[in-house]
Symmetry: C2
Subunit: 156 residues, 2 copies
DNA sequence: ACTGAAATCGTTGCTGC
DNA sequence: GCAGCAACGATTTCAGT
């Protein structure tokens, strides 16, 4: 777990550059530069500074998993027998490709995960065989996302 | 809501290309091409085909929001008075920048949202003022993510 | 920190296989 | 559907301010 002890200080120009690229990482730098009113070289310098600061983690190509048959998204609250088995359970969850998020949360559950499956049958297999099969998992509660209406990054 | 009625058919080479770029959208195409054993031009052709199919939604620059002071992530289950107020509530949620995901789910809640705030005080403001202030919202249940251990896309 | 130009590298289009 | 090459466009670097 990475410890964050200090914020990165950025100005309005940095924010504009980041907001552009957070929407579309392939947006030409010269276009962004023209929009701001500085040259492409200046934008590039700022991007290098932001990369070095660790604020920029990288870039990802975003695909629509539904077009590959992944049509069932679900959230699963996981109860663990003892709190001590948490890191072990997380390691086991990492090995399940259908698990795309995993959180250690306050409240009823020890662990909260987001899974993406092809259909309900696939989800059932992941729940019963993979997740329930992990040592220490006593019970799970599942919520199927019938429709995701918002999916975005924070506006900075 | 986009209706998906047919899957996009892709082969192993397409999968390899996509998996590379889903991890790092800036990965040089020539490098990927060499890895597969075809030319960069061929990789381009396939990418254009995949874009046209709608499978590729775009690319995003990924930043670490914690370095900008956004250190509190939470999941909020929202109870609505009547099911009919759902689309209206979603529209109101879209106007709250701290709401980064919104799902229509099975189970106890009508709507399930993921919010990203600077700290607990900020979260409290978003909950009490913004979310609870939406017409039709009767009650909310909040789970704070103390630590996100997995965050990835589906492996195809 | 930014500019402007030069060099480098990635992308796209074309022709032939 | 892919290779090879040429033309284009974008990124990156660097001296100068």
């Amino acid at each position: 777990m990475k410890i964050i002890d200090q914020n990165v200080v950025i100005d309005g120009i940095d924010k504009t550059i980041l907001n552009f690229l957070m929407e579309d990482a392939k947006r030409p730098i010269l276009e962004i530069a023209k929009n701001i009113g500085i040259t492409g070289a200046a934008v590039h310098q700022r991007l290098r500074k932001l990369e070095k600061s660790g604020l920029i983690e990288g870039s990802r190509l975003i695909i629509d998993p539904r077009l590959l048959g992944y049509k069932t998204m679900a959230f699963v609250g996981v109860y663990l027998d003892k709190a001590v088995s948490n890191p072990l359970a997380v390691n086991k969850l990492k090995e399940i490709p259908e698990v795309i998020e995993c959180h250690y949360t306050t409240g009823n559950w020890s662990i909260f995960v987001k899974v993406l499956c092809k259909d309900n049958e696939h989800l059932m297999k992941v729940l019963n065989k993979n997740i329930q099969g992990i040592e220490g998992v006593s019970r799970t509660e599942t919520f199927i996302s019938l429709n995701q209406q918002i999916n975005r990054q924070i506006k900075i």
